[in-house]
Symmetry: C2
């Protein structure tokens, strides 16, 4: 790995490319200097190369060729270079060791692979991108490296991640955000898609799910419509109720998951956008679970930082000390 005063970190998901110019401090700690955005993997029209360089060229002009570290769907079958999932349990050292390097227009490019795991019911699960936030979270406290922890990463696909002794043991995906978008815009349930968030309606939806009988999500969803027909919800409240119902179902399933004992969790850490994280926190508290919210951007940078430091350290250790020879 060439030594550089700057690196570029790229979080390249399905919908967005988010690039960060980072200064490498003496202790190999990264500081964000500048940010830039581009098209997500599924939206790239020309080549990935062109899309990347259009985004980072101003930095290259200023600082010369810089190492680029990428994570997310860019390493998937629909991305630039497919990287194999690293099977869980896994940890920082494994992930750093299995990064995929290639050269493009004389830039050293590194793709950090995603993770896979196998759940109790023989179902596979996968993530690409969120692992960086989890690695970042592990750096936040020495307490995170001992004992059992559950992390919730809400979003288009919520991820629930089980940590044991600093290792990522397994994780579960719920398509909560994608279902919410589809049902809000395309189903018979919602007439007013631009309505403001309504706290009471959200709570009503969450309570309905949390109190409902076994496996009733598919039988309870229609209440979004029937409550409007009977004047118990206005059209403008219905979307918040649907949000409560979906987040309630997601949290309820997580609390009943056989992969961990929710009763033994002192706290769930939430890494996500502020409002969404607060909604998950609120519903978890109904279950008597304390939460702590961590901002996504900070965790992502911290994760990049730990991978960067780990790779630099490995390189230092593997480089023969020519001064002694």
């Amino acid at each position: 790995m060439p030594i550089s005063n700057y690196i570029i970190a790229v979080d390249w998901g399905t919908s967005h490319l988010r690039a960060f110019l980072c200064r490498v401090n003496d202790d190999k700690h990264l500081t964000i200097i500048d940010k830039a955005n581009g098209l997500g993997v599924s939206k790239v029209i020309h080549s990935f190369e062109k899309t990347l360089f259009e985004c980072i060229n101003p930095w290259v002009h200023q600082h010369g060729k810089l190492p680029v570290f990428m994570m997310g769907q860019i390493g998937s079958s629909i991305g630039w270079k497919e990287t194999n999932y690293i099977p869980c349990p896994t940890q920082l050292e494994d992930i750093s060791a299995k990064c995929v390097n290639f050269s493009c227009a004389d830039h050293d490019i590194t793709i950090i692979p995603g993770l896979s795991c196998r759940l109790y019911n023989d179902m596979h699960d996968v993530m690409r991108g969120e692992e960086m936030q989890v690695l970042g979270w592990l750096q936040q406290s020495p307490q995170h490296l001992i004992g059992n922890h559950l992390i919730c990463l809400p979003g288009t696909h919520t991820k629930w991640v089980l940590i044991k002794s600093g290792q990522i043991v397994l994780f579960k995906t719920a398509m909560t955000g994608e279902l919410y978008d589809l049902l809000s815009t395309q189903s018979i349930l919602i007439q007013e898609n631009n309505a403001e968030f309504n706290q009471a309606s959200f709570q009503l939806g969450a309570d309905f799910t949390l109190k409902s009988e076994q496996g009733s999500f598919i039988h309870g969803l229609f209440s979004v419509r029937s409550k409007q027909l009977f004047g118990e919800l206005s059209h403008s409240q219905a979307k918040s109720y649907l949000s409560g119902l979906l987040i309630g179902s997601d949290v309820r399933a997580a609390m009943n998951a056989q992969e961990w004992q929710s009763s033994q969790l002192a706290q769930v850490s939430i890494i996500g956008a502020k409002h969404l994280s607060q909604l998950f926190s609120q519903v978890l508290k109904v279950h008597g679970i304390n939460t702590k919210i961590y901002p996504v951007a900070d965790m992502t940078l911290s994760g990049f930082n730990s991978v960067y430091q780990q790779m630099s350290t490995s390189l230092d250790n593997n480089t023969p000390d020519t001064s002694m020879s």
Copy 2:
């Protein structure tokens, strides 16, 4: 009600208008003579009146003005004349007595209202149209008028209907078909939407749901994608697997519903399209539940028939016998 040798029965739902010219036999039994189709309630561009008469005018030219009986979304808030839901428990006599009559272009038009009920968790439920199939089913055997029965009407919105002593006691809606359509065409789960049905993949999806932990639908859905990523499902098998997963969830929730004791059901009657009914039957059998399938069109006509006979009988009884006066 004017006496006529013919009547027109119209099943006018959200997506389709299906009209039937029926001959009234001496015993007031109806026989279908001709059929015609038109635009559903949500697709009508001009007026409902114009849409209806374009459809039935050939019959009017031949037979003169005929009584028209309509059911379905045409009686909803987005339809022609909104009719109030009849609250359950209810039965044929109530439904026939609460039909809404009006005159249009000198035709006597009758709209048969939908039904509502309240479930154990205080959730309202509603139906418009399916009640005719249920009334038809009640006519199929004297056994249907005694004891408890559960009817499943699969479709865009599956309805599970509880019958006690010939009364419609309550029912539950699952948005199974709508979720299937949305997830097949708009989500990340399915790449090949036109793939042929695959029985083994359907069974795999149904088994996955039936064997899964409590409330895991929202956590299990992602297996449609992860199984493709790990080569356990081909892109062309994924849609059948999704179908199994959704129908499995629907049936599982029905078997766990608190409104009835599934263990005490000798049989579930299914009224629906042939292939879909067979899929529900298959999944119910895994639960040890016997099923009997009834064709939709036959049940709808039989339901119309029973409402028509009931209304005619009421009218006969209320008409003073002038011959004796």
